[in-house]
Symmetry: C2
Subunit: 321 residues, 2 copies
């Protein structure tokens, strides 16, 4: 690998799948070589507290606190606060553990005292021993809203309360037009030697990030390789409602459909070995296909995928020179 591969990797991520690859990257790269930008379009006020589900999933994953059974929340957490809120007649359809509540209480307290979400996130992650940079996509609020056959639903209402059951007709990123990339994101967009879109939901996790004014242009202006990892394997989402939503929005539920979403944004699409027969179709969409094992069960799986993605990045930089 050339010297340039020692440069910065910018990873864009949303929920559980994105956090898995980010963990792999963090296990390989030193802190100064990785910036993980996380979707905040799912953020929501619950009980007057600012909840950032994707930031927390990433934080719990990188700190080792995460619950491997659920993918969200803190392993072994209790639910006394939520139980009591239920007794107080409060709607509690969004599951929040007691330790989880501490994050939201602390985040809300710091935000009310004037800190930005970036500053709060830096403090929370540092307090939990995370040395890599986890940054929100923006310090301004962006809310992913799904227009469905059950009406307009905020992300968590759709995903948790309605169990992703209503049919999606369109998705909006409310507030995106007034948002700016967070300082850490903006700097990484300038400095990155490669950009990785993690295997997150293209519409619910990645599109909110790309909807922030200037992000697509900044990515387009950088002559570095941009690698997306398909969250669709074998014609279905590895996890979550990505496949269902793609179908409802008229997209092909396959790595080819993902290639069409990221065409013009990324150069390379990493697709799973069991989709190897789609490589030519991905190439026909104008993206370089890279076939590899993308399913991540163990930490070794995450490290292995991260290593292959970084090899693509290294090759890409060599090409670019």
């Amino acid at each position: 690998m050339g010297k340039s591969t020692q440069g910065l990797i910018l990873a864009l991520a949303g929920g559980v799948g994105g956090a898995k690859l980010a963990l792999g990257l963090a296990k390989i790269l030193p802190p100064e070589r990785l910036v993980i930008v996380v979707n905040t379009g799912d953020d929501e006020q619950f009980h007057g507290l600012h909840v950032s589900p994707d930031l927390d999933t990433m934080t719990y994953t990188l700190s080792g606190l995460y619950n491997p059974e659920t993918g969200w929340g803190i392993d072994g957490d209790s639910f006394g606060t939520l139980d009591m809120l239920r007794r107080l007649g409060v709607e509690t359809w969004f599951n929040l553990g007691d330790r989880d509540f501490a994050m939201h209480i602390r985040r809300t307290d710091l935000l009310r005292k004037g800190a930005t979400l970036s500053e709060v996130t830096a403090q929370l992650t540092a307090n939990l021993g995370i040395r890599h940079s986890i940054v929100p996509m923006s310090d301004q609020p962006v809310r992913t809203v799904l227009d469905t056959d059950a009406g307009a639903l905020a992300m968590q209402e759709y995903f948790v309360r309605q169990r992703a059951e209503p049919a999606v007709r369109a998705i909006r990123y409310a507030g995106a037009e007034d948002a700016r990339p967070s300082p850490g994101f903006a700097a990484a967009l300038q400095d990155a030697h490669a950009i990785v879109i993690c295997p997150s939901n293209p519409f619910l996790s990645v599109a909110p990030i790309l909807a922030i004014p200037g992000v697509r242009d900044a990515m387009g202006s950088r002559h570095v390789r941009k690698i997306a990892v398909s969250p669709i394997v074998g014609g279905a989402a590895v996890r979550g409602p990505a496949g269902k939503i793609m179908a409802e929005l008229g997209a092909e539920v396959s790595a080819v459909g993902v290639a069409r979403e990221y065409r013009g944004i990324c150069d390379v699409l990493a697709l799973d070995t069991r989709d190897a027969d789609l490589a030519a179709a991905v190439a026909a969409e104008g993206m370089e296909p890279a076939v590899m094992g993308t399913i991540m069960h163990t930490d070794n799986d995450k490290i292995a995928l991260a290593r292959q993605v970084l090899q693509l990045a290294a090759r890409a930089e060599t090409t670019a020179q």
Copy 2:
């Protein structure tokens, strides 16, 4: 008992001792005959949440949730939220259980949405099945501040963080001059057929209530009997730092010292059987002594004391007519 004894009882209370007698009163009186006014001078912001220790102690006691070991908090509560806040580098000297946190989260959320503390308290207590009226002394903030040899300390700083160790030189009730009795308190001051000062700390629990402009005058203008129950038994506080503070402020640590504090405010002082020899000295201070068992361990103790206090009230009303 005459018909007039069917009237309203107004009880003023602070922490654990006050809640015990209030529970006894609530077990005898129907909801429409009792208003419990609770000190809020101990209220504090912790982690951006509005904590009302005395309101919660009263609420937990009357709902049966209270922890009989500690007197405060909810029986069997867990401490996951506080543990996690500690991991996040936050000072956690004030013990808050997970179910406790739910109360503070809900209270804060409703206050931020514009509800008064009275409205919030009515809702929280109703949600926990309490039919009797628990009302804050005021909807405006009053903060008990102790001038000590360790500097000026808010009540919880003094009591919990410093374990009531610094010597107290003076006590202030910051904000009291701009506070008004809560609507429920103001109405009960007008309507009460008897007023009971529960065995709470005279300086830290009862004085903040009496410091609200108009309260002393309203009590003085009512020709009903006003009965205080001494929190000092056998020359020491039954619980907490009342004795220590009385001594530091130059008061006699006895039922006689308590009589001097409540002289002109109450007519009757209920003092414990083991202080029977002080009855004459109490009478010499201008208060009618009423000797009875005031130590409350069991619910039966609480009911027995409440019954005797109500008998005093009934006798008093008869006298007044």
